[in-house]
Symmetry: C2
């Protein structure tokens, strides 16, 4: 039943336990193999995680990271903590043949950071639970020894983003994905993020007021457009990483914007756009017991969505902007009297509509185009399905 | 790419997002199905989770649970928080044909609670990320409508334990396990627990001192013994749940004991026994830069381990107690002058050995039997492999 490498586990202790090789596909694990025979590449992975988790600047509120039964965080007495978790499942949230490993690691962390941004929170620590096929910890045969395994590259993407926001990795769990004869062994990652906000000051979904102006950061539809392009020619995309914007592969969580909106009292409510503007706006309306009207001509559309329309990958760039999802921009409300800066930290803020009271016969969401108004279906994303 | 049920997600918002049916086994998801066609049993599951998460007594430090981008916790200013995560993977940590669904839910939470117990922490909130095959959310055909789905039963076990320790479920994530033709779709659960301890008072692994007495709570080897029995006749075990002790299926995390040891200053260091006495003691020694000697005749052996030896399921009950793992008892050290009560909260405390300085030629672990001493291999668990 026990599946951690006994001799080896003392090297990394408690939280980061790699299940020993031979344990997959049978339960109880195959105990015929000696406990010391753990795959050297797994050991290297564990060491890599521990070492990289320990690097970086001062760890602030993190008192104890990887290495005991729990990590310990000491928030400031004036703060409360916010917590979010997000699963990243292979074949559900990413495909290994489309998404570079670095992008999978980046996106895994970005999803959680974006949730913190929506609360106006400052990141404190991340925890990463990983179930991985053992072959992904090995370097590819026939490649130079300098080649990095899939997991090395996943961690490259993860830690590059973590370091850019100074988020320490404080713990997690590690296991081999079960392998059953004839079945695929898949990657599962679960990211947990803890952040801090001054007590009672977190930005919520439920506190928008009638008459508030609706804003969105950055631009929308880029992630869906890049996904459309990625589906057509994944190899080209995988090879063009450093030189282009990648709203799908490398979304940028709006942490600085969220913190500023909260700290300066600019926003009355906020949510991040993970499921698409229409869906997340419906969440905001529902939580605040309001409705919303947005102006089609005010919605900032990502240039890649415009290009996707021109390339006939989608009938309409607006559709991608409305329903595309995974843009990880912030959608927030502000009182009409609030003087909103045009940008925060270089990220533009666009007014796109306003919040209205609920009224009989009024749809949750209304899309205005000139003088024409029509109900907006928050389930609209299926219309732009990649073909 | 988006996989949450758009219309439906507003019912549970942010954290608990069920991926819509039709999204599994293809990426991007099969968007041909209308967004409103989510499986009613999935909706029922989400509602069940939300409702059950909201029940129970006052939620203490939990300010905001399921329903926004993040949950919010407000720890006391005098406390720090401890965090642990644990994966539970089908075919690695449990088998659906051996473990009743209730036990899988119980064990998932118990693993995390036991980590809190080892720190002397008080539970604050749990987060549960689940990837599940969609058929597990449905009731079995041909059974009465009162029959519960696998997931219902998983949650029964989870919440029964959560409620017994007054731990609110504050969030998580929910997804369908990917299904690929010809492949199994498996259950993955990741449990996250947050607890609180007064600042600087958490029990650690690294603070044992030479000369300290080693103690263990309860008795050992029961979990491994039950697993041996379970392997032989899973059906008999599945049908005998309520009437017997089940150290493997329903381990009891030692939270009250851990809190008392910490609050009364009784322990100098602690760890929970998840990987087996020998392995976890090696962790403790390594973290404290010490060695340990334990007395074979002092180790409290679970009656089920003794029965397993008599039934020839194992050559030795002691082997199960030393190396079996998953007993989720506490292993802790105390100064020799400390007057240790024989029990805390009904759980017996047994002295089993002592901590010694590191010395050239001295093994990390020594097992004493009368006047005979021999090195103890912390990888010993493979010797009792179920046959």
């Amino acid at each position: 039943m026990q599946s951690s490498p006994k001799i080896l586990s003392s090297r990394y202790a408690g939280d980061y336990q790699m299940r020993r090789p031979g344990n997959t596909g049978s339960f109880p694990p195959n105990t015929a193999r000696p406990a010391v025979a753990a795959d050297p590449s797994e050991l290297a992975l564990i060491e890599a995680i521990r070492q990289r988790a320990a690097t970086g600047k001062a760890r602030g509120p993190l008192r104890l990271g990887i290495g005991d039964d729990c990590a310990i965080l000491r928030p400031r007495a004036s703060d409360e903590i916010v917590i979010t978790t997000d699963l990243s499942l292979e074949l559900v949230h990413f495909r290994r043949d489309w998404h570079p490993a670095e992008a999978v690691g980046h996106r895994c962390l970005a999803r959680g950071l974006s949730d913190l941004a929506a609360m106006g929170a400052r990141p404190m620590a991340a925890f990463l639970s990983l179930a991985i096929p053992p072959e992904l910890t090995r370097k590819k045969r026939g490649t130079p020894t300098s080649a990095r395994s899939w997991m090395d590259r996943f961690l490259d993407g993860f830690f590059r983003l973590a370091e850019s926001f100074d988020v320490p990795l404080a713990g997690g769990d590690l296991a081999q994905s079960p392998r059953v004869t004839g079945s695929l062994s898949l990657v599962t990652a679960d990211i947990l993020l803890l952040g801090s906000v001054p007590r009672g000051r977190a930005l919520l979904r439920s506190t928008a007021r009638p008459g508030d102006i609706l804003y969105v950061t950055g631009s929308l539809g880029g992630s869906a457009a890049e996904l459309l392009a990625l589906e057509r020619s994944p190899q080209r995309y995988c090879n063009s990483l450093p030189t282009q914007p990648h709203p799908h592969l490398y979304p940028q969580p709006r942490l600085a914007t969220g913190i500023k909106l909260r700290a300066d009292g600019l926003a009355t409510a906020a949510i991040d756009i993970s499921d698409g503007l229409s869906t997340d706006l419906a969440h905001l309306c529902e939580a605040s017991a309001l409705t919303a009207e947005i102006d089609a001509h005010s919605i900032p559309i990502h240039v890649m969505a415009v290009l996707a329309e021109k390339a006939a990958l989608t009938p309409s760039a607006l559709t991608l902007a409305l329903h595309g999802g995974e843009d990880y921009e912030l959608l927030f409300t502000a009182a009409p009297a609030t003087r909103m800066p045009p940008k925060i930290g270089g990220v533009p803020l666009h007014p796109i509509g306003r919040m209205l009271p609920r009224r009989a016969g009024r749809p949750i969401l209304t899309l205005r185009s000139g003088s024409h108004r029509k109900p907006l279906d928050p389930g609209g994303w299926q219309h732009f399905r990649p073909r």
